[in-house]
Structure formats: C-alpha cells, structure tokens
Amino acid sequence: MPAQDYIPIDSDWLGKAGSLWTTPWVDKPSDRVIVDPIILSHAATLYRKNAGYFYSNPDEAVRMVCGACELYDVTPVGHYLYADYWGADYGAEIKIQTNAPPGITNRPIKTAEDVDNFEVLSTEDLVKGPTLTTHYKALDTVKNEYPQMFAPITQLGGTMEVATNWASIEDVFMWMITEPELVDKLCVKAGDHMVNACRATAERYGANVMITGSVIASGDLMDREQIKRFSYQPVSRAVRKVLNAGAGPGVYYHLCGNHTDDFDLWKDAPMSPFTIVQIGYDGQNIFPTSKLVENFGDRCTCFGTVDTKLIDRGTPAQVYAQAKEQVIAGKDSPRGFILGTACECPTNAPPVNVHALVRAAKDFGKYEKF
C-alpha cells in the first residue's frame, strides 16, 4: 500500500497523544497514563497483511504502525524492529517468515577461533549493512511522512542477544560452561558493536534511543552470576560508552523474561535523563508494577507490563483486570510511568485485547500527582 492509500493521522488525536507521551519523560502534566503495547507486526494484521509482508516492506510497515497507534490511541511512535538484528551484517542469512518476525540462520561464528577472529564493523560499515539500511528506510519514512511520530531508535538488545545473533545460542551456552572467557570476549565485541550502531543513528538523526537490556539473559536460561557476567556488566560498559560518545541520550532497558534473581542489579545500570526500565516477569508471573516502582521509581521512568500471553490468548476481561492493577500501582511513579506489554504485541493478538489494555489506562490511569 503506497502512502496515498493511508488516511492522514488525525491531528487532534496526535496533539493529545503527544502530550500524554511527553509526561513520563519531562513531568509535564497531562490527563492520564499513556499505553505502549509495542506494536510491530501486529499492525499488519489490522490491514489484513502478515508479518512476512510487514518485514519485507519497512516503509509500509511503519505506515501501518502509525495508523494502528491512532486506532488504538497509544504511544504515537512509528516503530520498526525485530529481535534478530545484526546477524546479517556479519554474514548470517536472514529468513523472512510469514507469521513471525524474521529469523536468522547460518550464523557467522561457529568455532572458538571464529570468536577470536571476529571483527566488529565500524559505524560507516554498519550504515551500509543490511540491518541499518532496512531500519533507516523505515525510520526515514516516519520522519518524512509522520514527522511528529518519529523517534530515532536503535534496536540492540544486550550483549547476549547480539552475541547469539552472531553465534548459535547452543554454542554460546555451551561455551558459558566450558570456556566462559570466550563468552566474555564475545560480549566485549557485542558491546563495541552496540556503541558503533548507536553512533550511526545519532549521527544520522542527531540523537539516539538505544533499546538494550537482557532478553535471552534472563532467569529462565541463566543464573544471577551468569547474567551479571555476560549481560549486566558488559551492557553497563557499553551504555556508558554510548552516552560518552554522544550516541544517546535515550536508554531503554528491556528486561524480557523472568528477572526475579537479577532485577536489582539493573538499579545501578548507567542511566541518562531519558532512561526507562521495563521488566517482564517475576518467576512465572507478570512483574508486579508495585515492585518495579518500589525499586526503580525514584531512579527513572518505569514501564509497567501486562502479560503478552494474556494479550495473545486471554480474554478482554483478563487483560483489563491485570492492566488495572498495574496502572494503579504505577501511574504516579515519581519519574514517570508508561503502561504496556511485557514484550512486543503478539502478531495475531485480538484487537479487543489491545483495546482492553488501553481502556484500563483511561479508566484507572488518571494522574493524581499533578
């Protein structure tokens, strides 16, 4: 669908959504908590397209996302990204899938020698590479067609996520036991890569918001010491470097999965004035927003979550009930609060469930602190 097939964004809505979106960052009073259900390929389903179509057409993808933001009345930002970034730049193959985000195969690092010989690409080379070429096609479309919905985001994940896009997860986990120093090396390289990638976005758009954190490195797969060594420490070093290199100022710590045993580490992760922390799960349960605010509320902006499994397979009433509890616990968090989903909105989630999430924010997310 070319640009002329979309209706222009309602400017009244955009003004109001923009004001709700500004509040958690700069404490400028507005009416209520904004919702960010992390809409990516889910937007395509609203246009009767699939994830494969979404990721094959980055310019159309962001048009769909921007349209979906208005439809649902959520954060007015045209996102485009997927988890398996950065493999293709180093020789992996990327596979577009019909009903899921792209996946990578044939990762470039296969042996311990490959780790030693692996060279991180420069900022210049990354800009010419497949990941940023596609990513910037999407971002440029937002900037040109929906300038008020533009945010210069760089999708990284943490060091373990970048590392497992270079080497297979099986190999990395095996090395963690047999040759942990090798994984240290890999994580240092992943950190250097993160800095170069953030530089590229900051140079292109004048600022950058890095999506980092710990996804594979969660309590489901790693223990606290492993998360500390291979994720928290190298990620912290990389974020410091990014901020020092002028490749910030946005820092988004996306702690996906279970972080019961390591969430407290991240309280001291390097933060800029525009830092947000989102934690997915506490054991098997959704991470309670009360616990998030108790630990991070006096530090940075908090992102409270509703279980993506519930968004995908629950009823609107279940989504609404969980969202109500989370938004009441978080709305007056001293340094700002956003309500969203534990991870990206599932591609085929029922739209009524996203609506239920937003309704809960409208019904129970009115600010009392202003």
Binding site: T22, W25, V26, D27, K28, G206, A207, K228, Y232, Q233, S236, R237, R240, L243, N244, A245, G246, A247, G248, P249, L265, K267, D268, P270, M271, S272, P273, F274, T275, D298, R299, C300, R335
Partner: protein, 153 residues
C-alpha cells in the same frame, strides 16, 4: 600557577559563555582547596565551579587550559540516595585529588526546569564530590537539556 589560555581555549570559553577571569578563578579555588579530579598520570586536572545556573568545568595541565565545558542540569546527589557498592567495574580514569580515591562512575540525580532525572556522573565515595565528564556533558547532557527546554516550554 600560571595557566596559559590559547586562542583555541579562548574560543571554547566564548562558546560556553564563560569569562576568562571566571575560569581562572575556578582553577585557583580548586588548586587551593585541592577539590579537583586528577588524571592517573597526574598531568591533567578537572576543576569545577558554578555560576548562576551553570556548572562550569576547566580541564587543565600545569601550564595551560585544555578544555572547557558546562551543563545547565544541576547535580543534586547520588541517584537512589547513597553510594553503595555496585556489581560492575565502576572505576573511572580520574582520581579525587583531595582524597586520593578513584572517582566512581555512578548515576547522579540532576535537575533542570523542574525535572529531576539520573545522569552519568563521576563520584568520590569518600568526600562525596560529584562531577560530570566532558564526553557526557558535551553530548548526552546537551541533548537532554535541549529536549527539556523544548518540552517544558
């Protein structure tokens, strides 16, 4: 101490809206109180001073002014309230000259236009003095200040 101000340093002063006497005063005060950061090789120092709503830093050697930078965000204190040990290598390349302690890379609360948020700082765990590095101030804080000015207007 006779600090030379080159033409280049003079331009930096102008860019930052800082007067020559002001920066020399900041250096003089730091030298007499000992309250400054010193590089590990001892050749470079960072002195900090304040003027109205601006925090001003002088980076200097024994003979000349090397760099000048400023930030408008006002440092309030350690994020989270106190300096506790963290579980990563937080040692910076700088030493608190007064205490002889390595300055730590820690988040510090900063306030500007009524908004308080964390920012990356350099902190002496012994005397509690807080600084911001040139890299952070010139990039991250500059951008943050511009966003706050735009959004809080």
């Amino acid at each position: 101490m006779d600090i030379k101000i080159t033409e280049q340093a003079d331009n930096l002063l102008k860019d930052n809206g800082v007067r020559k006497e002001e920066i020399l005063d900041i250096i003089k005060n730091s030298e007499s109180s000992g309250q400054k950061l010193k590089s590990k090789d001892g050749n470079t120092c960072i002195a900090k001073g304040a003027s109205e709503n601006l925090t001003i830093y002088a980076v200097y050697s024994a003979s000349e002014l090397l760099d000048v930078y400023t930030h408008k965000m006002n440092i309030l204190g350690i994020t989270g309230g106190e300096i506790k040990p963290v579980e990563y290598d937080d040692a910076s390349d700088w030493i608190c000259a007064k205490c002889g302690e390595v300055a730590l890379e820690r988040n510090v609360d900063m306030s500007y236009l009524g908004v308080t948020r964390p920012g990356p700082g350099l902190v002496c765990a012994k005397c509690g003095e807080m600084y911001v590095s040139a890299g952070m101030a010139k990039s991250t804080l500059k951008t943050a200040e511009a966003i706050l000015e735009e959004k809080r207007a």
